[in-house]
C-alpha cells in the first residue's frame, strides 16, 4: 500500500500527514520556506509561481487563522483563491464530500486546501482523485479530525529551527490535550523525524491517548517534572467542551495543575521558547504573563506559517 501523499517516485504529491513523511522532504519544505519569509518584508509581497492556478479552500469546519494564512500564502504566490465554508453550504443540503470535490474539479480546481472534522477526510479526497485519474490536482490537509495538521507541524518546526538552529540536541515538551489534538500528532511526527532526542508529552491521563508512548514520546503527568530542562514548550489549546464528557473537572483545576505560568516556566531552560498554535485560552492553558512574555514566540509562529504554507503550495503547485 503506497502512502497516498507520495507519487511513485517518492515525491510529494499531496501534503496529508507528517507521520511517515521522509526527513529529506520535511527539510526541503523548511529550506524552501526560508526565502519566502523574506517576501513578506518586500514592498510588493507577490511572486508569480502559481499564476493562473485555482486554489480552493474547502473548510468543512470553522477556522479563521488557518484559512486566512492559506489564503494569504496562495495570493502571495499569485494563485486565484476561492473560499468555501461548507458547513454553511452544500453539506447542509446533503451533498457528499466526494460529490463536492467532483464538482469543484469540473471547475478546474488545481489545489484543494481541506479542513474536515473527520480524521482521514483529505486522504479520502486524495485517493478519490487518484482513482478518477486526476493526478494533477493537489490536496493539502489543513487539519482533519484528531489526525493531522501538517502545515501547523511544519511551521512549528520552522519556528524551532529559527530560534534553536539544531534539532538533534533538544528536549521538547508538548503540554495539554494530546488526545484530541491533530496539532500534537503532527508535531510529534515532525520532531521525531527531525531527530529530536527527547519529546515529552505532559497532561492528565484523560487527555493522553492510549499507547501514546509508541509514537516515540516520554509521558509525564507532573507538569514540573515534565518541564524540567526543556528547550521548547509547545502548549496545546484546551477546548471548552472538554469540560463536558468527564475528561476534566474544571478549567480552574486544569489551569492550576497544567496551565503554563511564569513560575512553572522557570523549570525549563532559561532560554526556552514557548509556542502555541492558537487561538489561546488565556488563564486556562497559558497565563498572559507567559503568552506576552519574552520567551513566547507565538506571533512569529503565525508569520512563519505563511512562508511555510507558501513553500508547500509552491512545491505541490509547480510539479
Amino acid at each position: 500500500m503506497r502512502n497516498p501523499q507520495l507519487n511513485k517516485h517518492g515525491e510529494l504529491q499531496h501534503l496529508l500527514t507528517l507521520d511517515g513523511l521522509p526527513r529529506e522532504i520535511v527539510t526541503t519544505i523548511l529550506d524552501t520556506a526560508t526565502p519566502f519569509a523574506a517576501v513578506a518584508e518586500r514592498e510588493v509581497k507577490k511572486l508569480p509561481l502559481m499564476r493562473g492556478k485555482s486554489v480552493f479552500n474547502l473548510f468543512f469546519e470553522n477556522s479563521t487563522r488557518t484559512r486566512t494564512t492559506f489564503e494569504i500564502a496562495a495570493k502571495r504566490l499569485s494563485a486565484d483563491v476561492v473560499n468555501l465554508n461548507i458547513n454553511t453550504s452544500s453539506a447542509a443540503k446533503g451533498e457528499s464530500l466526494l460529490d463536492t470535490v467532483d464538482n469543484l474539479c469540473a471547475m478546474h480546481a488545481d489545489m484543494f486546501v481541506v479542513r474536515h472534522a473527520a480524521s482521514g477526510a483529505p486522504m479520502l479526497i486524495a485517493q478519490h482523485l487518484q482513482h478518477t485519474g486526476r493526478d494533477d490536482v493537489r490536496v493539502i490537509n489543513a487539519g482533519d479530525g484528531r489526525h493531522a495538521h501538517p502545515t501547523q507541524g511544519l511551521l512549528d518546526m520552522y519556528t524551532i529551527r529559527h530560534f534553536k538552529h539544531d534539532f538533534t540536541n533538544l528536549t521538547v515538551a508538548i503540554v495539554g490535550d494530546v488526545l484530541h489534538s491533530r496539532v500534537a500528532r503532527s508535531q510529534i511526527a515532525a520532531l521525531t523525524t527531525l531527530g529530536v532526542p527527547e519529546v515529552r508529552v505532559i497532561g492528565p491521563r484523560t487527555l493522553l491517548p492510549t499507547e501514546v508512548e509508541k509514537l516515540g514520546v516520554r509521558v509525564f503527568h507532573d507538569m514540573s517534572e515534565g518541564l524540567k530542562g526543556v528547550d521548547v514548550v509547545m502548549m496545546l489549546r484546551l477546548q471548552n467542551e472538554r469540560m463536558n464528557g468527564a475528561l476534566l473537572p474544571t478549567p480552574q483545576e486544569y489551569y492550576k495543575i497544567w496551565g503554563l505560568t511564569a513560575d512553572k516556566l522557570t523549570l525549563a531552560k532559561p532560554d526556552a521558547i514557548v509556542m502555541h498554535p492558537g487561538p489561546m485560552n488565556r488563564g486556562v492553558e497559558i497565563d498572559s504573563a507567559v503568552a506576552d512574555g519574552t520567551q513566547a514566540v507565538i506571533l512569529p509562529q503565525v508569520t512563519f506559517g505563511i512562508a511555510v504554507r507558501m513553500a508547500v503550495m509552491s512545491m505541490l503547485g509547480s510539479h
Partner: protein, 425 residues
C-alpha cells in the same frame, strides 16, 4: 432430479470422514454414499474429480438487508451471492428495518426466501421490541414463525434488569440467546481499536474492556438465569479468555468469530480504508492470533461471514462516518481455506467450523453433514484454484470488503440446495 456426484473427495466433518467416493442425491436428499442404491438412475452426473465435496456451508450471520435496506441489497442479490459462495443455510440477524420482532414479519421473510428457492434461512428474532432493550418480544410466537434464536444484533441492552428478564424468559422455553459483547457506553463514538493505530490516526478508540465488561455481565446473568448463551463476533484475546474461564467453571457457552477478525488487525486500516470499519473493531495482531488459534482448537466454535453489504454511498466517506460492515458470503470459503493454510489447520477441522459446528449452534439436524437421509445441501469446490476478489466478480450488491484485490484460494464449482443444482460454474 437424481444427481450423481462422482469421484469427489468427500469431506464430512460431522462424521470425521474424508475419502474419495460417489454421492447419490434423490428427492432432495442424500440417498447413498459409495455405491449406488438399487434402481438409482442419475439424470445428471457431476464429475467432482479433483474437487472437494462438502456439506453446504452454514453461516451464523448474513444480513440480507430485507426488509428496510433494499437499496443496499436485496434477497435476490444476496441469495445469488450465497449460492456462489456455497452457503446453503443462513442465520439472519434481527437488525432489519423494521426489526425482526413481529411473527408476521418473520413469516413474510421466510416466505420470500422460500419462493426464491435458494439458501435456507434461519431468522434470529429480536430479543426486545425494536432492539430497544425495553420490552420483550413475543418469543414463543416468533419461534412458531420460524426464529431459531434471539439476539440484539449489535445493539446492546442498557438496562441490565431488562437483559436479565429477557434471558429468564428465553430460558423458560429453553430458547437460545445470541449476544454480541458490546458494553453500552464504553467506547461510545469510537470506531477503531483503542491502541497505537487509533492514536496515530486520530480515531476515537473502543477499548477491549467494552467487550470484556459486556461478557462479564452476560456470563453472570446467564449463570443466574440458566440461559442458553451463544456469544457472537468475538474480537479480543481477553474476551476469549473470559469465555474459557466460564467453561472451566462448568458453564455451557459457545462463541463465534467473523472471517475478518481471524485475518485482519487494526494495522490493516492502513490509510483509513473504510472497508475496515467493522463492528466489533479490528483489534491488535495479538488478538487476531489468539482468535485464529482459538478457532483452530475449537475453543471458538464457529466461523461466520458477518455478511453486511454496504453501498458505495455508505463507504465512500471518511472512515469514522462510513457505515460499518463488510460483504462476506462469497468470501466465507476462501477465507476459511486461507485461515486453515496460515494456522496449519487440517481441511476437515476448518470445514467443521463452517458446517457441522454452526449447525449445532443453530440447532440444524438435517443439514450440515452428508449422512444418507440428510438434506442434500452440498458444496463442491476446488480447493486449489485461486481467484482475485474484485468488485466485478462479487455477486453481492455490497462490494465492501477489506480483501478487494487479494488473491484467495478456493473456488465454488457447484452448489446444491435440497438436491437442486443452484450454482454451476
Amino acid at each position: 432430479m437424481n444427481i450423481l456426484i462422482s469421484n469427489g473427495r468427500v469431506i464430512d466433518p460431522a462424521r470425521r470422514s474424508d475419502s474419495v467416493q460417489n454421492v447419490y442425491v434423490a428427492h432432495g436428499k442424500i440417498v447413498a454414499l459409495g455405491s449406488a442404491p438399487d434402481g438409482f438412475h442419475a439424470e445428471r452426473t457431476i464429475d467432482a474429480s479433483g474437487l472437494v465435496v462438502a456439506p453446504g456451508f452454514i453461516d451464523l450471520a448474513a444480513r440480507l438487508r430485507e426488509p428496510g435496506f433494499e437499496y443496499r441489497a436485496t434477497l435476490e442479490s444476496e441469495m445469488e451471492a450465497a449460492m456462489a459462495g456455497g452457503v446453503t443455510s443462513l442465520a439472519i440477524p434481527p437488525d432489519t428495518d423494521p426489526t425482526l420482532d413481529e411473527p408476521g414479519l418473520v413469516e413474510m421473510l421466510t416466505y420470500r426466501a422460500k419462493k426464491l428457492n435458494r439458501a435456507h434461512i434461519y431468522p434470529v428474532g429480536a430479543l426486545t421490541l425494536g432492539l430497544k432493550g425495553e420490552r420483550l418480544s413475543e418469543m414463543a410466537e416468533l419461534v412458531e414463525a420460524g426464529c431459531v434464536a434471539f439476539s440484539q444484533a449489535n445493539v446492546p441492552i442498557i438496562d441490565n434488569t431488562v437483559l436479565m428478564r429477557a434471558l429468564q424468559y428465553a430460558a423458560t422455553f429453553n430458547f437460545r440467546v445470541w449476544l454480541q459483547p458490546i458494553a453500552p457506553f464504553l467506547g461510545r463514538g469510537g470506531n477503531a481499536h483503542d491502541g497505537e493505530m487509533a492514536t496515530r490516526m486520530g480515531l476515537a478508540g473502543i477499548p477491549v474492556a467494552a467487550e470484556t465488561i459486556a461478557l462479564y455481565t452476560y456470563l453472570e446473568l446467564a449463570k443466574i438465569t440458566d440461559a442458553r448463551l451463544h456469544i457472537t463476533r468475538l474480537s479480543s484475546a481477553a474476551g476469549l479468555a473470559l469465555i474459557e474461564q466460564a467453561r472451566a467453571d462448568g458453564m455451557d457457552v459457545s462463541c463465534d468469530v467473523s472471517i475478518n477478525h481471524v485475518h485482519l488487525s487494526d494495522m490493516d486500516i492502513g490509510y483509513f480504508n473504510p472497508n475496515c470499519h467493522l463492528i466489533p473493531p479490528l483489534r491488535s495482531q495479538r488478538d487476531r492470533e489468539a482468535l485464529s488459534q482459538g478457532l483452530a482448537e475449537g475453543r471458538i466454535n464457529a466461523l461466520c461471514s458477518d455478511h453486511t453489504p454496504v453501498d458505495d454511498d455508505g463507504k465512500q466517506v471518511p472512515f469514522s462516518e462510513a457505515e460499518p460492515g463488510a460483504t462476506g458470503l462469497e468470501l466465507l470459503l476462501p477465507l476459511t481455506l486461507k485461515w486453515a493454510e496460515r494456522a496449519g489447520v487440517p481441511l476437515m477441522d476448518a470445514l467443521a467450523r463452517i458446517t457441522s459446528d454452526p449447525a449445532k449452534i443453530i440447532g440444524i439436524t438435517k443439514a450440515g453433514h452428508l449422512s444418507p437421509g440428510a438434506r442434500a445441501d452440498i458444496c463442491v469446490f476446488d480447493p486449489h484454484a485461486h481467484a482475485i476478489i474484485s468488485r466485478e466478480n462479487l455477486r453481492s450488491q455490497g462490494k465492501n470488503t477489506p480483501f478487494l484485490g487479494l488473491e484467495l484460494p478456493g473456488k465454488v464449482r457447484y452448489t446444491l440446495v435440497e438436491g437442486e443444482l443452484m450454482f454451476d460454474h
